[in-house]
Amino acid sequence: MLAVLVRKDLLIEFRSREILISMITFGAAITLLYAFSFRPSPESMLTFAPGLMWMVFLFVSVLALHRSHSLEKEFDAFSMILSAPVERSVLFISKYLSGFIFLVIAQMVLLPLFFLFLQLPLPANLAQMVAVFLLVDLGISAAGSLLSGIVMRVRVNEMLLPLILFPMVTPLLISAVKSTASIMDSQPFNQWKLWFQLIVSFVIVFSLMGYLIYDYVSEE
């Protein structure tokens, strides 16, 4: 059932390409704005880059979440899914995984642009960077899927979602930025292990919460 739901989201996106195109173009636009707004030396750009990077990914995640739920509401497909014999926790996991996949794909395009436009050196330990990015993406997707499920039927939800999501993911954002900065600075894992642990904690807490309580937020 999970595979059916995730495949559905991927197929819809493959057909419409609405989510990925908006994520990538918006992300690229913000990256360009950064490049025009800040022109520090490459050394000091290294200080700001992790923070700027994760802000871009947070912003484009919000876009993806909105678009994903708009598609569910357009012909009321969401009611069809709710009325079908599909466990609500499985529905949450499918949204979680689909969101994660879209974010990863968008990052695969946006990261090279980011490094290129802001003239950043590639980190020595790419494997660590990939691991951190994948985990943080899971965290953003878990929190985003739960919170967008909460606000989807509330008025002005386009404004409400970032208002609620951004404070909630602050610890994830801080940990992501610190980890990324440490990796780009080639620091040994022991020195930034705490941030990694915080990311994992966040992923576990929000994944569990979403799995257990999505049922309560999905019904009208």
Partner: protein, 226 residues
């Protein structure tokens, strides 16, 4: 439904609060020692810390009320959750006001990214979102349900927020860390009394607010009684 203020318990609580508020004020201004470094600025501690305590208590109540609402589906738990959220956020705001008032003469700047204050700020922002959801949602059961979920999610996020902010601004560990057990009796007992007064104030206001929300619910329901 009788008026909240005409109840015997309310009158007694209000009376106790009024008296002890004045007692605490007197003790703070006259009986507690003056810190040699911080002088009078230090005395905000008797209001700042209890405010933070009450804010945390409020959010704890929101979490429990949320769990109880989701499991029992009784509107009274939603009333409790909303009232506690309002009071928690109010006292959060007091922390965010009293903190900078103290910080300006002591640190030279009203704000620094000190972990505890930053955690309070993030919680404050989360609850602004909570109130916006309540405001833009309809008055119905779904809004109560999603508010309960938000309250639970916010609470379980607090330890992660605190740890992350603590190590994020490791250089901003400027917040005083007084060990209460090592304080002189005048400071200790005045602080404990202030804590008690603030807690009692929270409970009193909570009961009052729940009473109003119950009345409001009753009135709204009456519109549709046939």
């Amino acid at each position: 439904m009788e008026s909240f203020h005409s109840r015997q318990s309310s009158k007694v609580t209000a009376g106790i609060l009024a008296v002890f508020w004045v007692v605490v004020l007197y003790l703070v201004l006259n009986e507690t020692r003056i810190d040699p470094d911080q002088q009078m600025a230090q005395k905000i501690f008797y209001y700042h810390v209890p405010s933070a305590w009450v804010a945390g208590l409020g959010y704890l109540v929101v979490m429990f009320a949320g769990v109880l609402y989701l499991t029992k589906k009784d509107e009274k738990w939603d009333h409790l959750g909303l009232a506690a959220a309002e009071l928690g956020t109010l006292f959060c705001a007091l922390v965010l006001i009293t903190g900078p008032i103290w910080a300006k003469p002591i640190w030279g700047a009203p704000w620094s990214w000190e972990p505890r204050l930053t955690t309070v700020l993030i919680m404050f922002l989360i609850y602004i979102g909570y109130f916006m959801v309540r405001n833009f949602g309809d008055e119905g059961e779904r809004t109560r349900r999603i508010s309960a979920v938000l309250g639970i999610a916010a609470f379980f996020n607090v330890p992660i927020i605190y740890v992350s902010v603590k190590f994020w601004a490791a250089d901003a560990q400027l917040h005083p860390q007084p060990a209460m057990s090592q304080q002189s009796p005048d400071v200790f007992w005045t602080f404990m009394l202030s804590l008690l007064v603030f807690t009692l104030l929270f409970v009193h206001l909570l009961c009052f607010r729940v009473h109003i929300l119950k009345l409001r619910s009753k009135v709204l329901g009456m519109r549709y009684d046939v």
